[in-house]
């Protein structure tokens, strides 16, 4: 009771603050919390049996873990888990090396104005959507008219490649496109960190006769390690979530490429909206949410141990 009075007292005192919280609170409630209760769909054989959604949900039959059992009996469950994890792992490792490398290189360039132009060019893809990117990729990979088939391969006297029907090159294309979109952005983040390193470190190193390479390996990189650790850990926490746009738009959602392009997110989307299979897609979605939740908790614990400021809670 005491707490209740406390709340009303606080509410009266801070009416304006509560008013400011209200819109955001409502959005979170409807957009984020309501669907959380909807996860029970995964344990039901959902059908539109009632007049309203709630009625249908209540009337639909409980099937326990049947949807999950079936999901994990398909070959897809393994393939989408593997694809999601391996691609994200590749993005994390390669993305880190490339972004830090570019940042260091740009910071060492002697013409800062040119460096700024380069940086701008590399940053541009961040501003373009994956739909736009799919057009750019198509301009290169199209069968009849694509730049690679018509100009490069034709000039080399090689036969054209049916890019959108051959799964083999796609792991490389997807990793490349991920780099294309994000390398510039991450490079800017690291560049900012490099520029905030105290110049005295370098001056001291020069007095000690350290070469440029030694300066980079002994000062720049170690100074970046905390940021690198935190960003990497954050990415590991999200390793179970794939970039839907990349895997959906760039391969044009082509069935024959699914073995190498289908990730959990695209699987859920396609199963829901093309197959209309609510049971399987909600089971896959909940599987992702639960494993994803566990990973976030684990990485957050690790982050808290390394650098408290960056921990979520």
């Amino acid at each position: 009771m005491g707490q209740k009075r406390g709340f009303w007292h606080e509410f009266k005192k801070n009416k304006a603050l509560f008013l400011m919280l209200l819109p955001g609170f409502i959005v979170l409630l409807l957009n984020n919390y309501l669907p959380m209760f909807g996860v029970i769909i995964a344990f039901k054989n959902f059908k539109f049996v009632g007049d309203t959604f709630i009625e249908s949900l209540l009337k639909s039959e409980w099937v326990g873990f049947k949807n999950f059992k079936f999901l994990f009996n398909t070959a897809d469950a393994y393939a989408i888990t593997r694809n999601t994890l391996l691609y994200n792992l590749a993005f994390i490792v390669i993305g880190l090396v490339v972004a830090v490398g570019l940042a260091v290189a740009l910071s060492e360039m002697r013409f800062p104005r040119l460096a700024r132009i380069y940086q701008g060019a590399m940053f541009l893809p961040y501003f373009l959507s994956w739909v736009v990117a799919s057009y750019l990729v198509y301009a290169f990979l199209g069968f009849d008219t694509g730049f690679i088939n018509k100009t490069i391969l034709a000039r080399l006297g090689l036969p054209p490649v049916s890019w959108y029907n051959d799964p083999r090159p796609w792991p490389f294309i997807l990793v490349f496109m991920h780099l294309w979109k994000w390398a510039g952005y991450n490079c800017v983040v690291y560049l900012a960190a490099i520029l905030s390193i105290d110049p005295e470190y370098y001056e001291a190193a020069i007095i000690d006769g350290a070469s440029k390479w030694q300066q980079i390996t002994n000062i720049t990189i170690p100074q970046l390690v905390p940021l690198m650790t935190v960003l990497t850990l954050l990415n590991i926490g999200r390793i179970f979530y794939a970039d839907f746009g990349l895997f959906f738009h760039i391969p044009r959602n082509t069935g024959i490429l699914y073995p190498v392009t289908n990730v959990i997110d695209t699987y859920v989307y396609n199963t829901l909206l093309y197959m209309g299979d609510i049971g399987m897609s909600s089971a896959a979605g909940l599987y992702q949410a639960v494993v994803g939740f566990t990973l976030v908790i684990i990485t957050n614990t690790v982050i808290r141990k390394t650098n408290r400021d960056y921990a979520l809670f």
Partner: protein, 301 residues
């Protein structure tokens, strides 16, 4: 980029040359596709059909843009939808998020931890696409509404947390205390004290919101069926699959049957150029602020 002033720490001219060339190549590879698409949109369809997409087309032409203009209804409509969503969405989401962030940034607010946790939970756990989709379409009835393209993006947990941290670090507590003693209400306090001091962070988040609304196809893909409510990015996606989507607005179709001689390849690329043109135009200006904002975010948050 203050490196130039480090004189003695600068790299050797040879290393600099290598860096300049290699980085230049990388930068070129990154923007090359954009250039290709622009060039193709100005090429003649016949030369594209024969020689493929090329940086040096055998024949330049404006026919793609002429056709696009003849089919403009759907395109202009999509532009208008996206402009409305972007303007309204940016203003509303920035307000929603910064109000929320301000309230939980106040150390004298007793329930700040509860409300912070309320946001943080949404980062850790979500119901997944299926329940979200069913709730949004069956309960909130967001499908085929402009509101549906805005509402789900009003709150972003990460951005709220960034704003909260920023409000705490850039606004001294004494200032808030002083203003309260002067009898200022929370809203006045926010607008006249906090917002001006945290304007860099607000501007950055505002830009991120703008970009997010302008570039969004995800909500459209899930919620929009009506061709007349299709936003720009979704239109681009639909046209990728079937150029006929440009003709999806009966009553506004061109008088002649344009399909028989539609230059499908170049029109698609022209469409892409028209969609990215605003970004390409404002990019050089935005980019500088963006880098600055990111720098603030990266160091402080």
């Amino acid at each position: 980029m203050k490196k130039a002033s480090f004189g003695p720490t600068a790299i050797s001219p040879l290393a600099n040359l290598i860096l300049t060339v290699v980085l230049g190549l990388i930068a070129f590879v990154i923007i090359m596709p954009v250039i290709l698409v622009i060039v193709v949109s100005f090429s003649g369809e016949q030369s594209v059909l024969r020689y493929g997409f090329s940086f040096f087309p055998k024949q330049w032409s404006l026919e793609a843009y002429k056709f696009l203009f003849a089919l403009r209804y759907q395109l202009f409509n999509a532009y208008w939808i996206t402009i409305q969503v972007t303007l309204l969405g940016t203003v509303l989401s920035l307000m929603t998020m910064s109000f929320y962030a301000y309230a939980i940034s106040r150390k004298d607010f007793k329930y700040r931890n509860f409300f912070t946790f309320f946001v943080v939970i949404t980062i850790m756990f979500n119901g997944g696409l299926v329940p979200w989709y069913l709730v949004s379409t069956q309960l909130l009835h967001l499908q085929d509404r402009l509101w549906g393209l805005i509402f789900p993006y009003l709150m972003d947990a990460w951005w709220v947390l960034i704003l909260r941290t920023n409000f705490r670090t850039s606004v001294p507590e004494e200032l808030i205390e002083a203003a309260k003693i002067d009898g200022a209400g929370e809203f006045r306090l926010f607008f006249s004290v906090v917002a001006p001091l945290a304007r860099a962070a607000l501007a950055t988040i505002g830009l991120l919101c703008t970009l997010r609304f302008w570039n969004d196809w995800w909500l459209g893909l899930l919620l929009i069926n009506d061709p007349r409510k299709t936003p720009l990015q979704l239109l681009l996606y639909r046209v990728y699959n079937a150029i006929q989507f440009l003709l999806q607005s009966p009553g506004n179709l061109p008088k002649e049957d344009v399909l028989s001689n539609l230059p499908a390849n170049t029109v698609r690329m022209a469409m892409c150029v028209v969609v990215i043109a605003p970004i390409l135009v404002v990019f050089p200006f935005f980019q500088r602020y963006f880098v600055k904002g990111l720098t603030i975010g990266a160091i402080k948050s």
